[in-house]
Each structure stands twice: as C-alpha cells, then as structure tokens.
Symmetry: C2
Subunit: 269 residues, 2 copies
C-alpha cells in the first residue's frame, strides 16, 4: 500500500538489529500486506546491543505492535526478555521472532534454522543422514544447528571463537538429540556433505573468509547465511573450486515464510 | 511511496497517543515524503498514559527515529521527559513535538497554539485585540492560550475542571504576558469574540457539549480543536444558532506545517 494510507488503526511490525541497513524483511512483509489489503506496516529499528533491554521494555508498551523480528546482535539476549519460548528458541538459546499473545504476553521462537533447512530442501538438497560442518554458534548458528539436528543430520562439527558458548550449545544439542554425533572441531575434521557459515564474516565489503572451502571434496555443498552481499567471498571461492553453493537469500526466504506463519500470515499467497 | 520500499535506511517518525485511531499526522507527512522522494515513514504508536516513561526511554534508543509527535494524554508529561524545551513548550507547560538534535539529545516544543492561531488567520479571523473564552487548559488548551497571548489577544477567560492546573497555567501566562487580562471564569463572563473548546469533550460519538454556545452573540466565532468528528456537537449547535465556526482540521493543518518545519521539512511544497 501507499505509506499515506498509514493511520491510527495500522498494526505495526518491526525488525530490530545493528547493523540494520541490509534487511529485506520489511519489503517481504509490506508486499504481502499490500497484496492482501491488510492495514499493517513493517519498519526497521536500528538498535545498539547496549540499548536492547530499555528498547524492548518500551516496544512492549506500544499497543498496536503485534510482532518483532530480531536480528544480530539481539537474538541471544532477546531469549531472556520474552515471557515464553517455543521449542526451537529453547534449544537454540536464541530467538528471531516474538509475537504478542492474546493475553498480552510476548512469546519468542527461532525460525532461522527452519528457514535454512527449508531453503536446502527447496533447492533439492537432502539433510537427513548427512554430515555437516558449521562455522559459528551465535544466534543464527545455534538455530541452524538445532534445525540440522531436527532434520536428522548424522554428524555435526561446530567451530566458534567463543569456547564457552560453543560448549553450552553442544550441551543443549546433545541433551535434545542424544543419538547425534556432535562435537567441536574445524573444517579439517571432514569430509562433510555440508559446510555452513553462520558468522557475520564476509558481510558487506570486508572480503573476509570464515573458512577456506578449497580443500573440501567437490561434492560438499557450501552454504552461507549472509544475505548482503548475495554472493559472499566464501561462495565466490567455493564456486571457483567447483562446489555447489547456497546463498543466504534462500534461508532468509524460508525463515520469513516461517515467521509470517508465526505472526498469522501466509507470505506466499 | 509504497510501503514495500521501506528498508533498513528508512528514517522513522512516530505519533504517540491514546486514543490514536483518529490521527491524520501520518498521512500528511507520508504524502510529503512520497512527493519529495524522502526515504522516511511516519507511523502511529498507541501508548497508554501509564506507559509513557518506559515507552519514551525505549523510543529514544531507536537510532533511526528522528522525530515524535505527541498527542493526548502525553503532551504535559512529555514536557518533563525531553532534554530541552523551546519557548512555547515552556510557557504552555506541554509539548506536541520532539526532535533528535545533532548531539543526540531530544528537544521538545509546542506547536498546537501556533497551529490554532495560523488556522484562524488563514480563515480570515483576527486575534489581536480580541476577547476569548477558552474551555480546557490541558496540553492543547495551554498551547492555545499561550499562542492567543502571543498573538495579542486583549482578554482571556479560561475554564477547566482542574483548579490547580488552571491556577498554574494562568500564573505562567501572567508571568509571560503581564499586560494581558487573563482570569478563570465561564462562558457567562462574556461577551467574547472567540469561544474555543480545547477539551476532548465531543470527540468520537459521545455527542457531548463542552459548553453551550447558544447564548453567545451571533458574531462570536466558535472554534473546536477536535478533528474527529470534523463537525463536533459543539459546532453543529453553534452553526444552528448562527455562529461562524472553525473545525479542528484548520488548527491541525497549521500545527502540522509548524511541526514539519521543526523537523526540517516543508509540508506545503
């Protein structure tokens, strides 16, 4: 719809993050609201990590705010600020969406992992029974790990710069999926069917690589969760060395569909 | 612009109030942003009185929020929450707009009064040297009183249900405009050239009258600050008894132009 149709009855949805300039979520939702003639608008809030608690206390008081999408660096801390958590939020220890329930309380859950696995399936890639390397176990990484476990991955090797959060995440996954082989390790502990970057390394114009895909078998699918640039330095190099790749936009689209469903909307109709 | 153009770089403006359903400010600003190709959007936040302090602490942390328009019941309490005040905000003891200054602090000021007097002037009505009755000395009423004083009204009679805030407001006006005859009183203390309702009485479908305009001289201009309904029960009755009238939309338009200027925009080009 045109922004000049926004009025006092317009329902609000926001995405919070820092940085916030690359987000596509407002466009996906606003296109859908326009298509369905829903009086709602989705905007982006640029929020620093240190301001989250104060910001969230304030956001909760906005009576016409119905949902919040959470991006870096707020996914993990938001876990402790909502009133209740869905199963994926509890296992991942992080959330990427929160909705106002009919009793006024806020419920959070994590849909990034569902988005990643759905994205892989939509591209024709199998996850069940496979082995995967995951770089990064922050908000997005934890979500991808729990979704991979839920989808039946056989072996999972995770690397992270923070040994404490890595241990904790592995502990949560082992507790929920005792049959899965999950351990800390590096890209050298392969071979892997999947190699996934879930860190911000390679975002923007940095040109940085989260890991070197060159030594991996040619059949290893290289996945990035970063959406801007669409083809990260990791994916450029993986393509050069003959690997199939999946950019972040597929995960992002799958994640947005799942979040929309959580908010009560069908993004695809 | 279309809402699907909203992205992470979009600047935000909000109006806060309770009730919020009747606001027109988002439309006025969003039309202007669209016309000028400015990547900004104006939305409404429904905020209860008791939540203002928490809400404002949160709103201030949103880095891409540049301005806030304040409507009932927040105009008076917001006066104590901003970092600095303009002259009309100080005299009125209430503000209807706040902007983020370049140093990151928030400055508030009151433009409702300017809007009312500009609205009268635009309709060809003189204010200087006239006598006025004003019903209501809350946020909007205080602003109208200080703007009437500033525009050179000769005599001002004010009525309010709260004797303490009435005394305080009269004290502030007397201190700033010692040559003006200002006193508490009723519509029976006329004759008046202007009779203005600055209370919420008559808003919505209530059908209520803030005062009875019938006994006033036919030349008395009857003004309402309420914008929904456009023609309030007060104005219906005033028209029936032959008085010239001015609905709230003129004041609102003048107020919006002044607020836009405060935010750095020209609403009329």
């Amino acid at each position: 719809m045109e922004t000049d149709k926004i009025d006092g009855l317009t329902r609000l949805f926001v995405i919070i993050g820092d940085p916030i300039h690359g987000v596509r979520t407002p466009t996906l939702f606003n296109e859908m609201f326009g298509r369905k003639n829903i009086n709602a608008v989705f905007v982006a809030h640029h929020l620093a990590a240190g301001d989250l608690k104060t910001a969230w206390a304030g956001l909760k008081t906005i009576k016409n705010l119905d949902g919040v999408v959470i991006t870096m660096p707020h996914k993990t801390p938001m876990c402790g600020l909502v009133d209740s958590l869905g199963i994926n939020g509890r296992v991942a220890g992080a959330i990427n969406a929160a909705r106002r329930k009919s009793d006024g309380s806020w419920e959070g859950d994590m849909f990034d992992g569902i988005g990643c696995v759905d994205g892989l399936k939509r591209q024709g890639h199998e996850v069940a029974g496979r082995s995967a390397f995951l770089m990064g176990i922050g908000g997005a990484g934890s979500a991808v790990a729990s979704a991979l476990a839920h989808a039946g991955v056989k072996r999972l090797v995770v690397q992270d710069i923070d040994p404490l959060r890595l241990d904790r995440a592995i502990g949560r996954i082992r507790a929920a999926y005792p049959e899965l082989s999950v351990a800390s390790g590096t890209i050298d502990d392969g071979p892997f069917d999947l190699a996934i970057n879930a860190t911000p390394v390679g975002m923007g114009d940095s040109g940085a690589l989260p890991f070197d895909p060159s030594p991996l078998p040619a059949s290893t699918l290289v996945v990035d969760v970063i959406i801007k640039p669409e083809i990260t330095p990791l994916l450029v190099l993986a393509q050069k060395t003959g690997h199939p790749t999946q950019p972040g936009k597929h995960m992002h689209r799958g994640q947005a569909i799942a979040v929309a469903q959580f908010f009560g909307f069908d993004l695809e109709s």
